[in-house]
Structures are given as C-alpha cells and as structure tokens.
C-alpha cells in the first residue's frame, strides 16, 4: 500500500505541475518574449520609452481571442512595475463593465484615488471626475509618474459620443502629462470605429498578435509539457516522463492529431485549453502522457451538438422534423405547428404506422423548441399560443439525413419520406 502511494505521488505531482503551468499565462508566454521581433519587447519598448522620455502614447493591441494580448501586456506591466517602482500607476477598465462614459470616468477616479491613497467620493459628478482626471494627469506628470490606462474590449469604448476617449486623449495632447492608453480588442477594424476627432488625437500604434507558427508551436509543446530537471520529483521519473513525451511528440500520428486541432483554431489560448484537457486525461497509475490522452481530448473537443441532439430525439420528433423538411422542399417557407400537423396527417393518410394525437405531437413540438432544433422565426407575438407562431428548422436537411441514417432504430419509412 505504502509503496503504491509512493509510486502515485510523483505522477500526481507532475500532473499538478503541468496544470499549474497551463493555467498560468506568465509561464506560457515567457519563452516567446526574448526575441526583438516579439510583441513583448516591442510593447515594452513603447511603454518604457514613454516612462523615461516623459511622453504620451496610445497603443492598440489587436488580435483574435486567445492570442495572448492581455497576457503579454500583463507580463510587460509586471516587469515594468519591478523596474520602475512607484513611477507607474495602472488603471484597468473593461468595456463590458465600463462602456458607459460616466461610469468609466468614475472608475478611473476611484482607481486613481486608491493608487495614491486619496479619499474617493462616490457622488462626484461627471464634470468633477473629468476635472479630477486632468488634474491628476498633470500632477503625476510633474512628479514623473506615468499613468497607464488599460482599456480591455476597446471596441465597446468606441461607441456613441466617445466622451471618455476624447477627454483622455485631449488631456494627453495638451497637458504636460505622462500617460499611455492601451486599447485591447479582438476587432481588427476598431480604429475605424473611433470618431474622427478622437481618431485624430490617437497615436495609432498597433501591435498585432498572431497565432504562432508551426515551429513555434512545437517548441512550445515541449517547453510546456516536459518536466523540469531540478524539481522535487524523483530524477528517474522525470527522465522517463520526458523520454516518453519525446516519443509521443515525435510520433507522426500525434503530429497529425495536433494539426487537426490547429486547423480548427490555432491560437495559443485554445491550444492551452486542449493541452489542459489532454493532461487531465493522464492515467495516474501509468503516470505518463500517452497518445491516447491526446486522442480522447481531441474527440471531446470536436463535438457536433446538433447532430448529437438528433440521436436523442424520439421517433415522433423525427417525424415532425421530417415533415418540416418536406414543407420546406415544397417551398412553403413559413409554417407553424398547425401546418406541420396537416403535413403529418397527410403522411399518415396512406401509411399506417405510429399515428399520434394532436396534443402528444404538441408536446413533442415543444420539446424540439427547447432543444433548439427549431425556433420561432421572430420575436413578435409572445402572447400567441405556440401552435400559431411560425417556426423555422435550425438544422439543415443534410444534417438531418445524416442524423437519421445514424439513428439506432430509424423507421425505414422516414428515410424514404425525407428522400422524396
């Protein structure tokens, strides 16, 4: 028993280590940061130059979700906070939370007060807060302190009048201030959203975050999955783990598997999620990563929810779906429960099999609505009862046909009906 436990220990530890790594963006993005072409060093240069040279800047970080915009930014900020302690205050806003100008300005004032140990008043008006912001920018500039505004989901700030952005950027071009505005967004056309007078004041520095290249991904996998030599894990275990991992990584099947995954989504964030899943499938008794783990992870990520829904449907529900499909083929574009029922009845005119009553069919119909295999065409007419509201099929005929074919006991007549 005791020996077993000892055996189990290193693999459990290794699993924990890998999971910690995968959920820590700093570890993931660190190795990508040294080269001069990396976004990390470019961003660091821009921010640190505006600290040392006392100038204002505004930067946009663009890239698809999961490409590590915020992670790299946080890495840079934590480095700079170490390098210039007390000279930086970071104000973090999120467009989802502070899209409203008034509320954003209040939040800025709050964070500035926190940062400088001033007392914050909740009831201050928009004017007061914006004057406070300008005064703070000035005072901080005079004291050689840089304020960094991080605006996550920047596109949501670039809506309506854009008062916040205007007053921020206008203060930055007229006061002796030291401030950096960093907008983070996954919308590539975000600078087109800015109003023209705001755009004119924006510095338009852009950093584009792209998915890593193939070679980078491979280096990456090794960097993340191999265990460190100098850890508390037993040496022999580490060596064997890394050896086996190398074999897995070199395996052609593995490469293919990773490629399938990457062909779907190649950002780092997604890759991390995939690896986390794979690592979690690791068999603790064996204690090593195997190809099987990755396979299971892949199959669990590539789910087809709609066709799986069909597998769970009852025969009657399949009948209803087929009826709707037949109506669509007849170019009857708008249909509701009643018209579906007439079609259902007409099917059963010449074929005598499971013929159900109207109220049973209605239950099945409602179930389909809940499963989102069908939906109402419009949001109007909430007060109408379900039978009269027009619906639409949300699953394509091809998918439906596939689903029927793979259904375990599909009546042959249904397949015939759908083909016609």
């Amino acid at each position: 028993m005791g020996r077993e436990k000892e055996k189990e220990n290193p693999s459990q530890k290794a699993l924990n280590l890998l999971r910690t790594r995968l959920s820590n963006p700093n570890f993931v993005f660190k190795p990508l940061s040294d080269s001069p072409d990396s976004n990390y060093s470019k961003l660091k240069f821009i921010i640190s130059s505006s600290i040392t040279e006392a100038c204002n800047n505004s930067i946009l970080l663009l890239g698809p979700r999961g490409s590590g915009k915020v992670a790299v930014l946080e890495l840079v900020l934590s480095d700079l906070l170490q390098q210039y302690p007390e000279a930086i205050s970071v104000i973090r806003l999120n467009g989802l939370l502070h899209g409203d100008d008034n509320c954003a300005l209040k939040e800025i004032a709050r964070q500035l007060c926190m940062e400088h140990q001033l007392l914050f008043s909740k009831v201050a008006s928009f004017d007061d807060n914006s004057q406070f912001l300008i005064a703070m920018l000035r005072e901080c500039g005079l004291a050689h302190k840089t304020i960094i505004f991080v605006l996550d989901e920047f596109d949501l700030f670039a809506q309506a009048k854009q008062r916040l952005l205007y007053s921020l950027l206008d203060a930055m071009q007229s006061v002796t201030s030291q401030a950096v505005v960093i907008g983070v967004s996954c919308r590539l056309d975000v600078d087109q959203l800015l109003e023209k007078r705001v755009r004119s004041r924006f510095s338009h520095r852009k950093l584009l975050f792209l998915p890593p290249s193939k070679e980078d991904t491979e280096r990456f996998l090794e960097h993340i999955l191999s265990l460190p030599k100098d850890s508390s894990l037993p040496h022999s275990y580490t060596v064997e783990f890394n050896g086996r991992l190398k074999n897995v990584l070199a395996d052609e099947r593995f490469k293919e598997l990773i490629n399938t995954y990457l062909s779907f989504n190649s950002t780092i964030g997604q890759l991390m999620r995939f690896l986390f899943q794979a690592v979690s499938y690791m068999d603790l008794d064996v204690g090593f990563l195997s190809l099987e783990n990755f396979k299971t992870a892949l199959s669990s990520t590539q789910r087809q929810p709609k066709s799986e829904c069909i597998k769970d449907c009852s025969i009657l529900e399949l009948y209803l779906l087929v009826c709707m499909k037949r109506l669509e083929v007849k170019e009857q574009n708008s249909y509701n429960f009643n018209s579906v029922m007439t079609e259902y009845k007409s099917i059963h005119d010449f074929q005598t099999s499971d013929n159900y009553a109207g109220n049973v069919c209605l239950r099945a119909f409602e179930h389909l609505l809940q499963r989102e295999l069908i939906s109402f065409t419009d949001n109007r007419g909430h007060n109408q009862s379900v039978e009269f509201r027009p619906v639409k099929l949300l699953i394509s005929p091809a998918e439906l046909y596939q689903g029927l074919k793979s259904y375990r006991s599909c009546p042959a007549i249904l397949l015939k009906l759908i083909a016609r």
């Binding site: 006392a54 698809p64 406070f132 005072e139 056309d189 510095s203 338009h204």
Partner: protein, 867 residues
C-alpha cells in the same frame, strides 16, 4: 506610513507654545515682538537645526522645536482614525493658518474683525468649532502695535516706494493699513515680487561686512580681473593662468579641476592653503550651499503700519536638507523650492541671488556666482518632489488679487457682496490646500481637489537627470503633440483674420452680434490658432494697448450635457457654482438685460466653444440662447464656435443659422508643403530625418486627410521604430555603429501601421479551416454575385470544396464556430451563431484582399483555384 496628515503633527505641539507666548507677552512686552520675527532678530541660544529655526520664524515662538520634529516622525495617527478628533485638530490647524493670517495683519484693527468673521463662517461650514482659535486671537488682538514702535530702527531716508496701481485707492485708505507694493527700493537695492534673495540666517557680524563681490581663485587666492573657470564638481574658481597646465580659453562642455579628478581617482588631495594672515573668505553661494545662509523667493512685499518693511518669503532648500539627502544626480548648484513660507523683515535680506529654471540656467553664461538651478518643488510635509510647472500656475496672481483688492478694500464686513464671498471662497480654498485635509474626498466638489499634494516622487528618478538624450529621442520629444511649437507656420492668414475679428469686436464699443464660426477637419490647427491669437492679445493687454477682456473656453465634448455649458460659463466668469438653470437665468440677466453686478462685468467677454456641434439639442435652445446674447445691445459678448462640419449652420434652425452663419472661417486641410514645413520647423536643429522621409510622410498624410496630428504622429512613430532598431542592435551586437537617422523605410513602416488594417496579416496566419471558410465565401460571392449569403449555403460549398480536394469535412458545428470566430475579428460580418443555418454572412473586406492573402498558402495550394 507616510500617508497621515502631517499638518496635524506639525500643529499639535503648538498649543503649549501658545500659552508660552502669552506668558511672555505679559511678562516682557518689549522684548518679544508679536510681529513675526525675522530669523535675524531671533537668536536662539543653542542654534537649533535649520529646519526648526525656519519653523520658529514662522510661528514666532522661541521654543526649540526638536520635539516637533520628533512629533513629525512618531505620530502614528492615521487621518481616518482621527476623524472624531477632527474638530480639535482642524481647530488647531486652523489656528496654524490663522497664525499666518494674523501675522499679516496684527495691527490693523478693522480687518481682523472681518477676517474673524470669515473664519467663523468657514469653520461653521466645515462643522468645526475652533475654540482654541478664538482664544488665541484674543491674545493677539490685545496687543497694541505701539509696543513695537520703540524697537524699530530708523530707516526710511534711502527708501523710495513705487506703488502699484494704488493711486486710485490711496484716498480711501486709512492710516493704519498695511500697504502692499510690487516693488520696493531698500538699502539701495530694488526688490520685486518674485525676486530671489539671500536671507541672513543669524547675526554673524564678522562675515556680514566683508561679503566678497568677486570670488577668489582657489590657487592664488586673489580675485583679480582675469578670466576664471569654474569646476563643475566642487564649484571652485580658478584663474586660467593658475592652472597646471594653464588654459588659453574656457573649454567647451564640462570641466573638472585637477583636484576633483584626483579625488575621484581615490588619491588624497591637499588643497593649496591660503597665504598666511589671509582668511579664506567664503562667498554667499558657498555659505548657502553649506546651509549657513538661506535663500527665499519674495512672494509679496508690504509696509507695516509702523513703517517697517516686510516680505513674505518662500524658502529654497539645498538638497542636503531634504529627507532623502543629496541624490547622486543632484547638480551642485541645485536648490528646491519648498511650499513653506514665512514673513521676514526686509532687514535680513543680504542681496539678490538668481534662481533659474533649467532652461534659463542652460542659457545663462556669466551671470556671476549667485546663480542657482531650481527644477523641483519640495513638499516639506510629504517629503516629496514635484517638477515646477513651466507656466507657473496662477497662485502668485491669486495672492496679488488677495492683497490688492480684498485685503485693502475697506468694505464693511457685513456688506455681504460678491467680493466677500469671493474672498471667502478664496481663503477657504487656500486654507484647505494648506491643510491637506485628508477627510475630504479627492475627486469631490467645489472645483478643488484635495490631497493632490500627496502626489510626488520620494526621490527624483535617476533616468530623468542622468540620461543624455540621443538625436532620435530629442526628435521624438519635439514631435509630441503635447509640445507647443514656438511658432505656428502656415496659419498666418487665418490667425490674422481671427485677430482682426477679435480686435474689431473688443475695440469697438459697440460689439453687436459678433459671432465667428470656424470649421475644418480635425488636426488643422483650429483651436491652436485661436489660442495663439488669445495669447498674443493677452500680451497686448499687458502692454496696455487693448482694454482688458475675459476669455472663456468651453469644449462641447467635455460637458456632461449640453445644458451644462451655462454652468461652466458662469463659473468661469464669476467663480461661483450654481445649477445650470440658475446659471442660465443669471447669464440672461447679465447679457440680455445688461445688468452688471461686479465691476469686471463690463469687460468684453470672448467665449470660445470648441466642438460646437455637440451642443445641438433637440429643440436647439442651448445654441440659440448662446448665439442670441451677442445680438443684445449691452452684452459685449463675442462667440467663437469651432466645429468640423462645414454646413453646421445650415443644418440648424434658420433663426440660429442667421445668427451664426454670417462670419465664417475655413481651415482647409494642410497640403503637403505645409505639412512638411510644420514638421521641419519642429525638427529645426535636430538632424534625425532624411529630407525625403519627411516629404514622404507629409505627402501621404496630405493625400489622405491633411491632418497635422497624423503627420506628426507618423514621424514620431518612425523615429520610434528607428530608435528601437538601434537600441536592439546595440544590445545584441554591442557596437553603436548603426546610423541614427530616420529613413524612408521607417516612415513607410509607420504609415503601414497607421493606415493599413491588419486584416491581411491575420488572414494569412489564421487556421486552415478559417482559410477554407474565407475561400468558400469568395467563391460563393463570385458564383451568385451577391454579397450576402447564409450559413447553410456556405456549409454546402465548403463540403463541396473539401470533398473535391481531399480534405476531411469537419462537420457543421465546427464550421459554425470557425465562422463566429472570424466574425469576432470582423473579417466577416455575421449574425449571432444561434441562428445556425439561417445565419447571414458577409465579407467585411474586399474579396481581392482575401484573394491576395490566401493566394499562396503553402499547406492548401488548391485554394488559389477558387479565388
């Protein structure tokens, strides 16, 4: 924890002092003057440290304040904890403040009364009862000024006084009044407000007389007429001929004497001893830097009732006296301005010294020995540094206003007019600023922010001083939008027009319906030109060629709502905060009915409204009101509106456009020559850009928008890119051979970054399925000729493409997800994913871009067929 209220700590030990003072006053009224003591007349027996001495001079008690310094360090009370004690504390601190005020007016029986009133009102407003204060005041007002008369020295023959704008008021003035001056001639020296002077620290008779005018050479110990050179390290002077080897002329750049060089190398150096019998005389500068003297800046000058002359001095500090001591990058001649003031008798002034800002200092060549550099202000409570703003805030002016109008005006305290209120506000503001009241929110009302003085660096960061700017960094600094250029090229015509308009409006007595509408695309210098004209006019007002006017600037985008503009205007005009409805009523009274309240109200008023289009409301009443005022006979209002759109007046109601659209001024976009001139005028003297590079940038911007900000930003970014490249090179190759000049390549990169959407790069690097998805979209577009397609059709196309090219079809839901991801980046426009097969899709970029991006994809060569 450095965040407690230091003021309180400073004040807390004062209570016993008060009583001590009282005692003394009673026991020996002749020896203790109640007027603020000058450092000179204060000779403590044991010569306490300098800081405390200063404080004593401020608060006229001769208790040694070593203990107060202890207090300063040890009092652990946080402001919040002290809330229940606030009454007491601020009573005390109020006392401290009233000290200062009392110091100013100990002998005028009228004003203290009104002041006391004011103070009481103030305290009541804050909800604090200053009992201690009242008590203290009783003590002081009981002292008659005559007591002091005996002590005053004879003086006055050599005094000429130049009063400032006092002629009109002098008739009103009573005898027992303090008289404020702008300039005083005293002991054959002229002292202005704003001058810097040496102040005696203690009576040191021997050194007092023989202040050497000329510095002596460190080698031969004679002053002489020949040229001397100053060592940049020890500040010692040397005759050129006394050096070994002798120098012919003063070398460029820094020069360090042989002694300092040797000392730096670690050798023991023996300085030449002065010849026998001759004592080395230290100059005032040396004494100051050794803290045997003080320097102060004159903030105000006045004559007391008894005829003695006083000034209010703001202390300078040498770096050694600050909390963190001398920092390695401090210059030898550096001083800090403090926020600590004291009233000093003119007697203790030795002579002028010259404290300059870094810019002036760099320009100063042979101004003599008494030149100092001052870049930072030092907060004595928080021990923090702050740069002195270049345009000194109007604090000094405020003080003048105080002294000039409010202090001397002999209005009865109960007249309750505007001025009193103004004064009250003013003094509360000052008081609160001084108090650093931590119990008031920083971002709250009253137009003043509390606790901002807390912000300041504990130490001046090294990179600010020790870093020598490279050419590129200097270029970047001048290209910043925030740096105000010395001249505004290319807008002379427009500026003249604005100037003519404003002058015409001001100078004519009948300013009827004056309204100017300025339009032009962003970044064409509209606001800047107007402000430049205003600056010119201000200097003309100062010169006296134009009548004074008031200028109000409002930005439409910075108002919370259009109606708020009334409030902002009213506040700018009078300094009062009222609701916008009240403000509208008051402004209507002033402009339409011609009701003038204050004496400044009959000045013409220039109102600049930036981003005018933001003031358009549904019924356009705001714009109408504002534009209607100028047409009224006695309004004397001139409105300058700025907006982007050319036809804004036409879009508005006819009654508005008839009032606004008469005089218009258009700022056209800059053409490339103008942009080039703007950039090169900024870059004058900095050889960082290739000429073609500047031209390329300006041509590009002129072709797109003609926005000067854009052009400057492109150049700055290009300099940034070049700087980055060079710095990386140095760090990797360790050779600084890279040519530090901005070329076309960098400008091109900057232009790309600014103007090009990054979608091509994203498409190139996106995942395989996304590429197939995009190809299918393009294919669908070609096939049907319709921009919009549904997901169902697209999925069919994708499955066709996949099967015919040997790719595995991944399934409908995966493709849906891929599409939604692309939609997130706005490469395609799409409806939410829950519409599934009904989802509508559309390319957000021209299909050519997609074709260009995906044409040569390595792992999917077959895509090119369908593009």
């Amino acid at each position: 924890m450095a965040t407690e209220t230091p003021k309180k700590q400073l004040q807390s030990p004062r209570k016993p002092k008060q009583s001590l003072n009282n005692l003394k006053v009673q026991s020996s009224p002749l020896s203790i003057s109640l007027s603020p003591q000058t450092p000179q007349s204060l000779i403590p027996p044991q010569a306490p440290p300098r800081r405390s001495l200063r404080r004593t001079s401020l608060h006229f008690s001769s208790t040694p304040i070593e203990d107060s310094i202890e207090y300063e360090k040890s009092d652990p009370k946080t402001p919040r904890k002290a809330v229940e004690e606030i009454g007491k504390i601020s009573g005390q601190s109020r006392k401290g403040q009233s000290h200062e005020e009392r110091v100013k007016t100990p002998k005028t029986p009228k004003i203290p009364k009104s002041k006391r009133n004011d103070e009481n009102r103030k305290t009541a407003k804050l909800g604090i009862l200053g009992e201690g204060m009242v008590e203290a005041e009783v003590t002081f007002s009981s002292v008659t000024p005559e007591v002091l008369e005996t002590k005053k020295r004879k003086r006055g023959e050599d005094k000429t006084v130049i009063p400032r704008a006092m002629a009109t008021r002098s008739s009103k003035k009573k005898e027992k009044k303090r008289v404020y001056y702008k300039k005083v001639v005293y002991d054959e020296g002229e002292f202005d407000v704003g001058d810097d002077v040496y102040v005696k620290r203690r009576e040191d008779a021997s050194s007092d007389d023989e202040v050497p005018e000329m510095e002596e050479c460190r080698v031969c110990f004679r002053a002489g007429r020949s040229v001397m050179i100053e060592c940049d390290d020890c500040l010692g002077g040397f005759h050129l001929k006394c050096l070994k080897p002798p120098l012919k002329e003063v070398p460029e750049g820094d020069w360090v004497c042989g002694f300092c060089q040797a000392q730096k190398l670690g050798k023991y150096v023996e300085f030449p001893e002065p010849p026998e019998g001759k004592k080395r005389v230290r100059t005032l500068r040396e004494k100051l830097l050794a803290s045997d003297l003080w320097a102060a800046r004159i903030e105000s000058l006045w004559k007391e009732v008894d005829g003695s002359f006083w000034f209010r001095g703001r202390w300078y500090m040498i770096p050694e006296e600050t909390a963190c001591g001398r920092q390695p990058h401090n210059l030898r001649r550096e001083l800090y301005r403090t926020n600590d003031c004291a009233d000093i008798e003119m007697e203790s002034i030795i002579r002028h010294c010259n404290v300059m800002s870094p810019k002036e200092y760099a320009k100063a060549n042979d101004e003599g020995d008494d030149v100092f550099l001052c870049e930072y202000e030092y907060d004595i409570h928080w021990h923090s540094f702050k740069r002195i703003a270049e345009i000194d805030n109007d604090e000094a002016d405020d003080e003048h206003a105080d002294s000039d109008e409010d202090w001397n005006s002999s209005k009865e305290p109960d007249s309750g007019t505007d001025e009193d209120m103004e004064y009250e506000e003013e003094s509360t503001r000052n008081a609160q600023a001084r108090l650093s009241t931590a119990h008031l929110a920083a971002n709250s009302r009253k137009g003043h922010f509390f606790g901002l003085q807390k912000i300041g660096t504990k130490k001046i960061p090294e990179h600010v001083r020790c870093h020598k700017q490279t050419v590129l960094e200097r270029a970047k600094a001048t290209l910043l939008l925030a740096t105000l250029p010395k001249s505004l090229p290319c807008r002379n015509k427009e500026m003249e027009e604005i100037m003519a308009f404003v002058k015409g409006a001001i100078c004519d007595d009948r300013c009827l319906g004056r309204c100017l509408y300025i339009h032009g695309v962003p970044g064409t210098g509209k606001t800047m030109s107007v402000l430049a004209v205003m600056r010119n006019l201000k200097s003309e007002v100062d010169a006296g060629s134009i009548r004074p006017y008031c200028f109000v600037e409002v930005n439409g985008l910075k108002l919370a709502s259009p109606e708020n503009i009334y409030r902002v205007i009213y506040e700018a005009l009078t300094g009062h905060r009222v609701s916008w409805k009240k403000a509208l009523q008051l402004l209507n009274e002033r402009f339409s009915d011609g009701k003038k309240i204050g004496k400044e109200d009959d000045r013409p008023c220039i109102l600049l409204i930036d981003e005018l289009d933001l003031l358009v409301t549904r019924n356009q009443s705001v714009l109408y009101n504002i534009l209607d005022w100028p047409t009224k006979p006695h309004s004397k209002l001139i409105v300058i509106g700025i907006a982007n759109t050319m036809d804004l007046p036409e879009k508005l109601l006819p009654r508005i456009s008839s009032r606004m659209g008469i005089q218009r001024l258009c700022f056209g976009p800059y053409n490339y020559q103008q942009l080039q001139e703007i950039i090169s005028s900024r870059l004058k003297g900095i050889d960082a850009f290739e000429k073609q590079a500047v031209e390329f940038a300006s041509r590009k911007v002129a072709a797109i928008s003609g926005d000067a900000r854009r052009a400057l930003e492109i150049c700055r970014r290009a300099a940034d890119i070049a700087d980055y490249r060079i710095k990386k090179q140095i760090s990797t190759v360790n050779s600084s051979t890279g040519k530090d000049i901005v070329t076309m390549a960098e400008v091109d990169a900057a232009i790309q970054e600014m103007f090009q959407a990054p979608h091509v790069q994203v498409m190139k690097s996106c995942s395989k399925l996304s590429k197939i998805f995009l190809t299918a979209m393009v294919y669908e577009l070609y096939k049907t000729g319709m921009g919009e397609t549904t997901f169902e059709k697209l999925a069919m196309t994708i499955s066709c493409l996949c099967t015919s090219n040997g790719e595995a079809f991944p399934g409908w839901d995966t493709i849906l997800k891929v599409g939604c991801k692309l939609g997130e980046c706005r490469i395609i426009l799409c409806e939410p994913g829950d519409r599934h097969r009904l989802q509508k899709l559309q390319l957000n970029f021209p299909s050519d871009d997609v074709a260009f991006a995906l044409k040569d994809t390595k792992d999917l060569p077959w895509l090119a067929k369908y593009l």
